[in-house]
């Protein structure tokens, strides 16, 4: 019996079919919820592929919004399913355990969700935030699943490590960043119908200065909403060394003499 508009509701895991892919993974039986390894491999590679595609949005001249939305929906779909399986948690833990200090600084971001938690109260839990992979920086970011309120991302291994791959980009739906949020900026600045955004701007005028020479693609809607800007690859260094704690979350003062990675570790451990 069809219900109208039933699309991809994975509330009933038993009915879930195998994702249709080339090698044709063995479809998990409806009764048993044991995932065949080929299916989960398939799903994982689909997730990796999707995240890479989303990151490539940074590079395109003007990213296709429809494509980005469809890919993001796919990522969310996979994430939901993996969360239900419990494999999501396992994967992120494995990623966290496998990390080691990076040779060079990679894009690191610290996002504070405390201020935003209330705003997201009505939404389904989004434990992860997407962090951008900056092509050319040869980096990846691993997201730790911490408290719901505090999410921290940190640098990790080189991108060539196949296990980690890009499975580390996770989503909250639209923090995939400037793909479409950037397009929003122009009208957000001009529309008075969105006062919340305007007020965020005015509350942190210093941030504008801070990042005046940052590539605008890093300064997206998410930044405005959380009051904390996403930073480019080398901006964290600058901000840690020269600026106050405005750029960082719940952690107290910056310790510029600390190795950046150690500093981030402290944040994670501390939370």
């Amino acid at each position: 019996m069809f219900t109208k508009g039933t699309k991809r509701k994975f509330s009933d895991p038993g009915e879930e079919p195998a994702s249709s892919g080339d090698p044709g993974p063995a479809a998990p039986s409806a009764a048993a919820r044991t995932l065949s390894s080929s299916y989960s491999l398939q799903r994982q590679s689909l997730l990796d592929m999707s995240l890479i595609k989303l990151q490539l949005c940074h590079m395109l001249v003007e990213p296709n919004l429809c494509r980005s939305v469809l890919i993001a929906n796919t990522v969310r779909q996979i994430q939901e399913e993996m969360t239900q399986d419990g494999t999501w948690h396992i994967m992120t833990q494995a990623l966290a355990a496998a990390q080691c200090p990076a040779d060079r600084l990679v894009a690191t971001e610290v996002l504070c969700r405390q201020t935003d938690a209330a705003a997201q109260a009505g939404q389904s839990p989004k434990p992860f935030s997407v962090v951008g992979l900056q092509e050319g920086y040869h980096s990846e970011e691993v997201v730790m699943e911490g408290d719901v309120e505090t999410e921290v991302t940190m640098s990790s291994l080189s991108p060539l490590s196949p296990q980690l791959s890009s499975a580390s980009y996770l989503t909250g739906p639209f923090e995939v960043g400037p793909c479409w949020e950037e397009e929003d900026e122009e009208e957000d600045h001009s529309e008075s119908s969105e006062p919340s955004l305007m007020s965020e701007h005015s509350r942190h005028p210093a941030l504008e200065e801070l990042f005046s020479d940052v590539d605008p693609s890093y300064y997206d809607l998410d930044t405005v909403l959380t009051g904390t800007p996403k930073m480019g690859p080398y901006d964290l260094l600058e901000s840690l060394s020269s600026h106050g704690p405005t750029a960082l979350s719940s952690s107290s003062s910056c310790r510029s003499d600390l190795n950046e990675l150690d500093h981030i570790m402290e944040i994670i451990v501390g939370s």
């Binding site: 069809f2 219900t3 109208k4 508009g5 039933t6 699309k7 991809r8 009915e15 879930e16 079919p17 195998a18 994702s19 249709s20 892919g21 080339d22 044709g24 398939q42 799903r43 689909l46 592929m49 595609k53 001249v61 003007e62 296709n64 919004l65 429809c66 494509r67 939305v69 469809l70 993001a72 929906n73 796919t74 779909q77 996979i78 909250g172 739906p173 639209f174 923090e175 479409w180 949020e181 950037e182 397009e183 929003d184 900026e185 122009e186 009208e187 969105e194 590539d215 605008p216 693609s217 809607l221 998410d222 909403l225």
Partner: protein, 448 residues
């Protein structure tokens, strides 16, 4: 004049012409991005990625061969849009022509709307085949004569000259879209038109360029909640208050502008429930509608999603009345198609003049026709090999089973770089225009 379409066995399709460069090396600017016949079918316009519009005109039927339709030859070529740079966002605005729509002809000149991602332009295409000579105040070269030297007056005479077709931009409708324009549609009142981008639809008056009315806005207050975009929109062919827009989630909404100024609440919602047997991670992507077209009668509309064409009765919202599988053999290849981005290709579709046949494109330069009455479907290929004048188009077939018959092509041999996204059908005759990447093929049919 429109015959029974391509369906009955009496009718065959013939190659007529091919336009465009012959070499395999395709210049990016030459990629055809839109094809559209005008309302009489005499003119055929194409837009390309380089921002140019080329208009072909059909020659009058030759008197010698009554059955032979006139050829299409270049009538006018002009640069419609130029690349722009958005300094605020440090992004380029492509000059690619996304859509061309003709206005109904009101006088000797022709008018069309062409749009790129951000700006719509109204172009006037007019002919000049006479020139006035013998002005009193001007010399022949245009210099003004000294009025004192004029001793007699004469009446200027019109003399014939070589036909010159001029295209001039009459209106520029700019700065109304934050997102990329995907559709424009002229209203049946011939005074207004709509333009749709990913999140909004605007209503314009053809005479007024400095403002437009927003009639649909699906942008969420929080962009993080965005899960659906507008993919296409069209006005009803004879009800000037009605339009439809399709979404990336496979829904079509019909709106009545009389209901309210902002048509955020649809009058009708057309959506087919998903088939649970076919559900996969790609279900949503392949359900995204790439094109929506009303039938000429206005009773039906057709939608194109990745794998199928659906015909909907406007009176029934729950499911389409007809579904045609374009290339069902691709369903098992969705993962690869996702990887190479082909799954995001936006195929268009079109009706023939009397709404009995629908047509759409596919890969490997194949295009498909579905005869609604005879319940037949045909697959043809637009290729240089079949390009001998008046050569019959041989039906093509993709082998899906294990055994590949002779003349069939296997799914793995399909060339996914050769895609036919844009097709157009002459409104009154059985002439079709099919665009491969950089060539325009014109086919016509005859009764045996």
């Amino acid at each position: 004049m429109a015959g029974p379409g391509g369906g009955s066995s009496d009718v065959q399709w013939y190659f007529s012409q091919v336009k465009g460069a012959m070499d395999d090396d395709v210049a990016e600017a030459d990629i055809i991005s839109t094809v559209e016949f005008n309302h009489s079918g005499e003119l055929l316009a194409t837009g390309d990625k380089g921002g140019r519009v080329v208009i072909f005109q059909q020659e009058p039927e030759s008197k010698n061969q009554a059955q032979c339709r006139g050829e299409y030859n270049v009538y006018s070529t002009f640069q419609s849009h130029e690349p722009e740079f958005d300094y605020l966002k440090s992004l380029e605005i492509e000059e690619k022509i996304n859509k061309i729509r003709w206005l109904p002809q009101k006088n000797a000149a022709q008018f069309l709307l062409s749009t790129n991602d951000k700006t719509i332009k109204l172009w006037k295409i007019s002919e000049r085949d006479k020139r006035a000579e013998g002005y009193n105040l001007k010399e022949e070269d245009g210099r003004y004569r000294d009025p004192n030297s004029v001793t007699t007056l004469r009446v200027p005479v019109l003399r014939p000259m070589d036909l010159m077709v001029e295209a001039s931009p009459r209106r520029v409708f700019a700065n109304a879209h934050t997102y990329h324009i995907n559709s424009i549609s002229v209203n049946s009142d011939h005074e207004t038109y709509l333009s749709a981008d990913d999140l909004r639809i605007n209503l314009w008056h053809l005479e007024i360029t400095d403002r437009s009315f927003n009639i649909v806005d699906i942008k969420p207050a929080n962009m993080e909640e965005l899960t659906e975009v507008i993919t296409a929109a069209e006005f009803h062919p004879n009800q000037c208050n009605t339009f439809v827009y399709s979404s990336s989630k496979g829904t079509i909404r019909l709106c009545d502008m009389r209901a309210s100024a902002l048509c955020d609440r649809h009058t009708k919602l057309f959506e087919e429930p998903e088939d649970p047997n076919n559900r996969s991670f790609f279900s949503e992507i392949i359900s995204s509608i790439s094109d929506v077209k009303f039938s000429h009668s206005g009773r039906y509309m057709m939608t194109r999603d990745y794998l199928s064409v659906k015909v909907w009765d406007l009176n029934m919202e729950t499911r389409p009345v007809e579904t045609y599988q374009v290339h069902e053999y691709l369903r098992s290849k969705l993962c690869s198609l996702y990887e190479n981005d082909c799954i995001f290709d936006k195929f268009e579709c079109c009706w023939n003049g009397n709404d009995s046949v629908v047509m759409t494109g596919s890969y490997n330069n194949f295009f498909r026709m579905f005869d609604r009455g005879y319940r037949q479907d045909m697959t043809f290929e637009a290729s240089r090999e079949n390009s001998k004048p008046q050569s019959v188009l041989k039906p093509r077939k993709v082998s899906t089973g294990g055994k590949r018959k002779k003349d069939e092509i296997s799914v793995d041999s399909l060339d996914f770089n050769k895609k036919i996204l844009h097709t157009a059908w002459h409104p009154l005759d059985n002439i079709i225009a099919v665009a491969t990447i950089n060539n325009l093929y014109i086919f016509e049919n005859k009764m045996n």
